[in-house]
């Protein structure tokens, strides 16, 4: 028997695979068997109602996409009245994702979500901290710690801190989130990028800058997951460019306990199910019985010497 369950703090998931926030929505139950997911992560909501960023919101880049959606949000009332009941039909735990522009607002929003049907709260720390310098909370250890601490005081749900990769040393932020009381880390959101149309000399995104996501970012985010896993004892949910069983395993070997699939959902809508389907066979092939046997087991001191080298 192969055991795919993983434990994220107090929460036990049937398997380690879930969508990245904002890359999965109502309607996907028409495509895949949602009950098979490890968890459902909802799109980030903000305290207020927002339309999101101007168009165009999307352009393609090598190995991925560049998008700037700007968190359109119908607010917590809609979320509790519509989204939570919608997902209540499905077995996997629902993770709410929240964003706010001050520590105070973060706490209030988390408190508002203390309603049945929400299993954990993922804190999207990539949003601008308007009280301090307008830059993302997760670019600064103190802001990260304060936000997480205040949210922890405002809810009894497990709190996952979703970090931004737009930092010099992600471990400083990981440590701060841990100190703030985070139950898990999600590593990471999108790298900030831009693109210019050389015919019109205009930015390709209405917002000029946006997030680069997809396969191209995998090596960078994987490295951050590895660094965080060395730095803090928290479960880590890896997220960045995962599009296959191999990518998911790579993240777990680097130290992730679970994984989120984002952009790949748009390319192969069954990616998450395909990964879940392939995991038992992968484990069997390696003589393992539990998916947790993969976590952090990269053999770091034995770099691959290409086996095909003519000189053995």
């Amino acid at each position: 028997m192969i055991d795919l369950t993983v434990r994220i703090g107090s929460l036990i998931l049937e398997n380690p695979v879930m969508p990245g926030s904002g890359t999965f929505a109502e309607g996907m139950e028409r495509v895949i068997d949602v009950d098979r997911l490890g968890a459902i992560v909802a799109k980030t909501i903000t305290p207020d109602i927002r339309h999101g960023n101007p168009q165009p919101r999307l352009t393609e880049v090598v190995g991925g996409m560049l998008s700037s959606i700007g968190i359109p949000s119908k607010g917590p009332d809609y979320f509790c009245a519509e989204t939570v009941p919608f997902y209540a039909r499905f077995k996997p735990p629902l993770i709410a994702s929240i964003s706010a522009s001050s520590v105070e607002a973060f706490g209030k929003l988390a408190a508002r979500l203390n309603t049945p049907g929400i299993a954990a709260i993922e804190v999207n720390l990539s949003c601008p901290n308007l009280e301090v310098n307008g830059r993302a909370f997760a670019m600064f250890p103190e802001a990260t710690r304060d936000a997480i601490r205040h949210i922890k005081e405002s809810t009894d749900r497990p709190v996952w801190a979703k970090l931004t990769p737009n930092v010099g040393d992600i471990t400083e932020i990981a440590v701060a989130a841990h100190e703030g009381g985070a139950d898990a880390l999600v590593v990471a959101n999108a790298l900030l990028g831009m693109a210019i149309d050389v015919t019109t000399f205009r930015p390709k995104l209405g917002n000029v800058m946006g997030g680069v996501t997809g396969a191209a970012m995998k090596p960078v985010i994987l490295r951050m997951v590895y660094q965080c896993a060395q730095a803090v004892p928290l479960p880590i949910i890896g997220c960045g460019g995962i599009s296959s069983i191999n990518d998911a395993v790579e993240y777990m070997l680097a130290g992730a306990t679970a994984v989120q699939v984002g952009t790949a959902n748009f390319i192969h809508p069954t990616t998450m199910i395909d990964i879940i389907d392939a995991l038992p066979e992968f484990l069997r092939r390696h003589g393992l019985t539990r998916v947790t046997d993969l976590i952090g087991t990269m053999r770091a001191n034995e770099a691959a010497d290409p086996s095909w080298a003519a000189v053995g």
Partner: protein, 272 residues
Amino acid sequence: MSTLSPIQPRPIRAEVCRVVFNTPLHGPYRHLAVTASATALAAMPGQFFQLLCPGQGQDRHTLRRPMSVYRVDHARGQLEFLFKIVGAGTRGLSGLAAGDELDIFGPLGQGFRLNMQWRHIVLLGRGAGMATLAPLAETAIARGMKVTAILSAARPELAVAADHLRAAGAEVRIVNDADGSAAPEWLEPVLRQIVTEQGVNFIATCGSGRLLRLVRRLHQEFGIDGQVALEQPMACGIGSCFCCVRPFVVDGQTIFKRVCQEGPVFAIQEAA
């Protein structure tokens, strides 16, 4: 799904199909057919699929490409697309040969809504936009409606789907930029004449902002129902990503709707 929702929405699938033919048409256009499952063949006029276009040579693209259903051939179990080669994705599509695989995801979006009372409908399409309108002709004619299709193109020989529409029983008119007949100054009187002389219940349009505005004027003046199929760059195609939004005016307020989910077909009065 744990419990059934009251009205079971139709399933949507990503499936790997076989190419039956991929025929070069005039100019940059191609006519592509694949064998598909019953799920895919349930596609309605105005709905679309997200095609996983293969790469070609040094072209590298990542996302799927949206393509309207051009025709459903229920007898042969085939789904047909009509596309224009414009960039990496459609270049990749154009390289497909009979027997090759193509991964399609759909059917997606809200198609055209036909009212069974209508007697005469007009399809007003520009360029590849006509590919989106074409299946409407078959459906409407099968229900006893008269269909007039006005094909707008840069040059007359570039008009899309003319033979197909004629074969389906539509009255086809081709207007073009070369002789000026596609210009609004020329087209609007022609259309007004059709409206006043023949009576028109409904106009569907796709492929041009000018045509959209023209249909809106006729809607406002004569109360003719109108629907427009819009386009927008898409990532997911199924409402998850909010990349494909466009502004719409609803009750005097501008709101964003997802072209892939609330559309691609919208009532003419709301498309801003």
